[in-house]
Amino acid sequence: MADKESTVYVVDLGESMADCHNGRVESDLDFGMRYVWDKISTTVAASRKTWTIGFVGFNTDETDNVLANDGQFEGYDNISALQPIGPMSMTELRELRSKVQPSNVHGTDPVSAAVVALTMVQQYNPTHKIKRRVILVTNGESQIDDDELDSIAEKFNEKKVELVVIGIDFDDPEYGFKEEDKSTHKKNNENALQQLVDKCNDGVFGTMQQAVEELSIPRIKPVRPFKAYDGPLTLGDPSKYPSAISIHVERYFKTKRAPPPSASTVVVNNGFSQTQTFKDEDEDVEMGGAEFSGVKQMRSYKVNDPDAPGGKRDVDFEELAKGYQYGRTVVPFGESDLSITKYSTQKSFTIIGFIPYDSYNPFINMGETGLIVPQKMNEEAELGLSAFIHALHEVESYAVARYVAKDDAQVQILLLKPNPGLEDDFECLYDVPLPFAEDIRSYQFPPLDKVLTVSGNVLKEHRLLPNDELKDAMSDFVDAMDLSNYDVDEEGKPLDYAPVDEVYNPIIHRMNQAIRARAIDPESSIGPPAEILLRYSKPPKKLLDKAKHEIGNLIDAAELKKVPEKAKGRFGRKDTVKPRSGLDIDSLLESQPKLATISSENAIPEFKRILREANDDETIERAVKQMGEIVRKLIKDSFADMLYSRAAENLGVMREKLLEFEEPMLYNKFLRALKKSLLSGELNGDRREMWYKHIVGGGLGLITNEELDVSDVTEEEAKEFAK
């Protein structure tokens, strides 16, 4: 990996850069700096000392550069090294930002500025070992002296420095950009720069349009290959059986989920807080900037104690031992004993057996893929593994292996898949982890191709099953929407749409782009996500157009009906739920005497029963009142939090039913009164936990008009009320 690099940006700050061209509403400078800032901030984000940056402005009011300052050379006026080469952090970035402003100057030769940059690079790091680059940005209005192009290109070549020229509104037939009505003067300058780059061994010439457009293409952070295993892959046990074979292999990661940037929890620093002299103890990086500081967590421990107020008391951390839970029993362990429950294993990688391709389904994979190659420069391993891969491929089989990455690591079961490298020229085994017995939850589902009736009959025709028309329409639809020959390459071979390596993780790049933009300009607002990040969120239009007919047919054959949002009546709506026998329980209940009051012990069924039988508002109100009393009593009688969940459950049922009956006011009224009682201590002591943990935390707050439009409580009011 080219780890060290030095880049000097050379940017035109002349007065013409302040103008807007070609229908853009931003100045040439802002347009060009979009590219430059993005590049610089990527370097800042990496926080690497070995990636250094310098910045040279030309057409500046001042003159400040190595060549002019020596007084030896002429022709380097109005060129300023705004930032000497060095590692870049936010502080330097901010400083630089304030300096990058268009001036009132024009006419400085960009090539001279490039020479200044070349000199800086050479002085900063004279060796060839690091990647060194000069990036020149200009709109080509400044006059170029084309006499010395050869000798200057020679200098770049001699010092092995790359020269990149990116011009604003420069023509690029390859990319497809041409500025209309270009002045001859600019045309000449463009040509001169093009010539210079052509003479360089390592040179790039491009137009800013393309550079800016490509900013939205995600850049993937390269990660060093990680060797997860280096040792024998065995078949049989070499320590016991002379027949057993052992191939020395190395295993690397092939896939590894890249996490999105993670946010830290911070607080705004108090205005009066002293200078930032403290150091974050668990941070090796000192965080600059006075605005925010990190938040730490402090843990305290509590145990149940019937004598303590609230039923709990604090204990010292020193008084605690470590342990494990076995059901509700806690088993304390001394620190030294903790390891006895750890299954001791030895580093090994050994084959359990083989299965044919067709007995495996990828959806049982449990995670990321590994890649297995023979040890380097080990002829036995190379030939042995190769034969193994070919044999698996020929008999269409996978191997199942037991894998322990190092001593005392967890056992994993891996499926080894042969890749004989016929297409990609890379002969290896791929592996994926398989589940253990404990990882499977046996969920039962009804069959999808038949309906079993209660009486045990099997039906092949039913409204839940597709008829032949629907099946045919589906088949045509799936075939029409095929992505595997969406396009063809130059040789006419079908090209797969959305292949894995062209689909970027939208969240990672959306976040990174936004963070970079915010770092460069704290005032900027967040723009919409780049098109490339959402490209695969919808079917391609071309495909939809092609499959229009099939889609229409499928829609017709499917005969879907949307379930109306709220099909709820108030009274007389009979519960249709019946036991298997179809017995009409409600009629059975109605024949019994009506319930006068709801009992606390069977509150939920009785509350539901009364509401089912209710014919007037009064009954509902009465039931709610009784249920409310039960909730209050449960809380009042609760020792510590013992009855809180029961109270919450009753309250939850009340809320659910009042939503159904569209009576939000009844619920909200009760809840307002309840909150008052809870927080005032009216219900026998400190009941705040009931409010925050069970009611607010359980989503039992006020019914808002978003949930039910007849409510007069807005979302904000409900949020405020929950505080």
């Binding site: 926080s47 936010m90 970035l93 040792g231 078949l235 046990d237 092939k254 989920r257 830290s264 929890t265 911070v266 607080v267 807080s273 403290f278 990086v285 605005e291 421990y301 709990k312 470590k322 342990g323 494990y324 059901g327 429950t341 389904n361 959806f363 042995g384 070919h390 199942v400 056992v411 898949k417 016929l422 017995a437 404990e438 499977i440 939850r441 969920y443 039962q444 589902f445 009804p446 999808l448 191709d449 099946k471 589906m474 088949s475 799936v478 939208p506 970079r516 967040i526 969120s537 939809l544 889609i551 499928l554 499917a558 879907l560 009906k561 379930v563 026998s581 329980i585 059975l588 069924p605």
Partner: protein
């Protein structure tokens, strides 16, 4: 006091939220109450038989054994879930000791053997004594003269659930009985039971019936239980799929049959998401529910225990957030910011939200591909199972079924954009069908998983690692032919990987030890690890092939080595020519290194290392080279040169 860092939670976040369904005020816990009928027929031992595989257990014994196993599995796999055992039809009655409104007499012939709770060591021990040692000191397994009233049993269960498992998302009553008609023609008793069953339904308790029968007798649900059990299996994927009768026969004991029926209900079916709009094409949306039948089970983490009281007690931890000056920080002060170039970059909560919101919750097909177009290495994460539901669109099930059948038939998969919930990160998934057309589980490749569609997460370009290694393919040869024989002779049973045959040894060991310590048993020092290959069998079946193969490999490797050496020499000569032309400083080519003076140790082959070790030239290696070699072997590189040498020698010795 202990200091913790906020960062430790950052990777946990996603996994933790997985099991929660949105907008649910109930806690996602499960409570199961076993209700076991203690009648004389249930207690009757099976007819004696010489057959080893014959039944040995009475129905009650089998039910208790099941409950015991269930309890142990629950502790391992669902440590937060509850379980209890209620015996009914017993001569004795017992509810709770507490002086509450209802005493034991409230529920005659109901005996609460294990209170509904997260099982404790004593519960396990007590049940084990009854099951394994047949110790029934309290004589609870004595049937009453008249049967228990089912309405009483059901209301007793109701009270147990109401008080002990308040606000649980899942509450289930497992009734194990051989009596299809407990109340004969007593209409009154029957309708009381039906009313109590409806109460349980309203309370959110599901009744699962496990009928037990002997010989060829059937179990007629219509006599009684059809009024008790609620379900509409066809319309609701969450409903049970029917009542399965447990019996002995077909080589299966009553116990095994019961275990298999109960195990299929071990975990309550929790949905991971519901009402998910599944957009097949613009204007064509159905609704599906999502489940996680695969979930990596890990041993529980350590906890802190307070030993100051009579009993060891779990210490509950609470965290407060403090700033740099140890001042407690209010929730409203807390902001989220990103580290960037040594500083924090801040977004307002609204901005942060808009950044994360790329799309609403959805599953949208963008097209279809042949299964073969998904690269075999494209795996990053476990898959999610989806099943249709009619809750959003009537007709979802038939459209889903048509898609499932088509994908199976033509070996295609859907490619879709998937946002699991509001604010979840979008992923690309392949939609892969499971199960078989034209039935019968026998030839299904995954009989332990349901038939339906799976959302198989595809890696993003960001998730692909590049490995800088060249491995050009080699032609197949005789070694390949010999290895073919080996592979064909070492197929796993039924030519498939059945995970159920491979328990995770780390988990099993952890809980085995823990159980022994909790129950004060002897701590075992050994355990059968089923993931270890059957070495003896391997030797027996393919030992001959392997020996031949090894011999041939050694020969071929020798030839290959010689070929390489010659090639290297030639290259060296070329290189020297080049060198002479260009006298600049250069690195010595690694290929030319010999054991005597290698410059790039990572490139030394094992044979070379071994040779160097043999003629004692290892110590001539420089420290950087040594470190290089050790790194390449995955060995620690700390310490002095002598340490490094020692470690390398150890390695060579063990790999020689």
């Amino acid at each position: 006091m202990a200091w913790g860092d906020d960062e430790e939670h950052r990777f946990g976040g996603e996994e933790e939220e997985e099991e929660l369904d949105e907008n649910d005020y109930k806690t996602q816990k499960d409570a199961v109450l076993f209700a076991i009928d203690i009648s004389s027929s249930m207690l009757q031992p099976p007819p004696t038989s010489d057959n080893k595989k014959a039944d040995k257990d009475s129905a009650v014994a089998a039910a208790l054994k099941c409950a015991y196993q269930f309890m142990q599995q629950r502790i391992i796999a669902q440590p937060k879930d509850m379980m209890g055992i209620l015996l009914f039809g017993t001569e004795k009655s017992k509810f709770r000791d507490e002086a509450g409104s209802r005493s034991g007499s409230g529920y005659p012939h109901c005996y609460l053997f294990t209170e509904l709770d997260v099982p404790a060591a004593e519960d396990v021990k007590k049940l084990r004594e009854l099951v394994e040692e047949g110790e029934d000191a309290d004589e609870v397994l004595v049937p009453s003269k008249e049967p228990a009233l089912m309405s009483n049993v059901l209301f007793c269960a109701n009270q147990i659930f109401t008080t002990n498992a308040a606000n649980f998302g899942s509450r289930r009553l497992f009734i194990i009985t051989d009596n299809e008609n407990p109340h004969g023609n007593d209409k009154q008793a029957k309708s009381s039971a039906a009313v109590r069953a409806k109460d349980l339904y309203d309370l959110g308790v599901t009744i699962e019936l496990f009928p037990v029968t002997r010989a060829n007798k059937g179990f007629d649900l219509s006599k009684f239980y059809d009024d008790i059990v609620y379900r509409s299996p066809a319309e609701d994927p969450d409903a049970s799929t029917g009542v399965k009768t447990s019996r002995s026969g077909d080589g299966l004991t009553l116990l095994n049959s019961l275990i298999s029926n109960i195990n299929s209900k071990q975990t309550p079916k929790r949905s991971y998401f519901s009402k998910m709009p599944f957009e097949l094409a613009p204007g064509l949306t159905i609704t599906v529910k999502g489940y996680m039948p695969l979930h990596q089970q890990k041993p529980a983490r350590t906890c802190y225990v307070w030993l100051g009281g009579e009993q060891a007690q779990l210490a509950q931890s609470e965290t407060i957030k403090v700033d740099s000056e140890a001042r407690t920080v209010e929730k409203s002060e807390i902001k989220k910011a990103y580290k960037f170039g040594g500083e924090y970059i801040y977004f307002t909560p609204e901005e942060a939200k808009s950044l994360k919101e790329l799309d609403t919750k959805c599953l949208r097909v963008i097209g279809f591909k042949p299964m073969a177009n998904i690269p075999m290495w494209a795996s990053v994460k476990k898959s999610t199972f989806i099943f249709p539901s009619e809750e959003g669109y009537v007709g979802s099930t038939r459209v889903f079924s048509a898609l499932w059948q088509k994908l199976l038939e033509s070996k295609k998969v859907g490619i879709a954009w998937f946002v699991a919930r509001k604010n979840a990160n979008p992923v690309m998934v392949a939609i892969i069908p499971s199960g078989n057309l034209n039935d019968e589980d026998q030839d299904a490749t995954t009989p332990y998983l349901p038939a339906g569609l799976w959302l198989y997460p595809l890696p993003f370009a960001d998730d692909i690692r590049t490995v800088d290694i060249k491995c050009p393919p080699k032609p197949a040869d005789e070694l390949t032919d010999k290895m073919r024989e080996v592979i064909q002779n070492l197929q796993l049973p039924k030519a498939t990987y059945n995970p159920l045959k491979y328990p995770n040894p780390a988990l099993q060991w952890h809980y085995k030890i823990l159980q022994a310590m909790a129950l004060e048993d002897d701590v075992p020092d050994e355990m059968e690890d089923l993931t270890v290959p059957k070495y003896k069998q391997i030797d027996k079946r393919v030992g001959g092939y392997l020996a031949e193969w090894k011999e041939e490999l050694a020969e071929k490797a020798k030839e290959f080595m010689e070929f390489r050496a010659t090639k290297r020499e030639l290259e060296d000569q070329d290189m020297e020519l080049v060198e002479r032309k260009r006298p600049a400083k250069r690195q010595k080519p690694a290929a030319g290194s010999t054991a005597g003076g290698p410059s790039s140790g990572g490139q030394m082959s094992n044979a070379e290392l071994k040779a160097a070790w043999g003629n004692d030239t290892l110590k001539k290696l420089t420290v950087p080279v040594l470190k290089d070699i050790l790194t390449s072997k995955g060995i620690s590189t700390t310490g002095k040169k002598a340490d490094l040498l020692e470690r390398l020698e150890e390695w060579i010795e063990s790999h020689a």
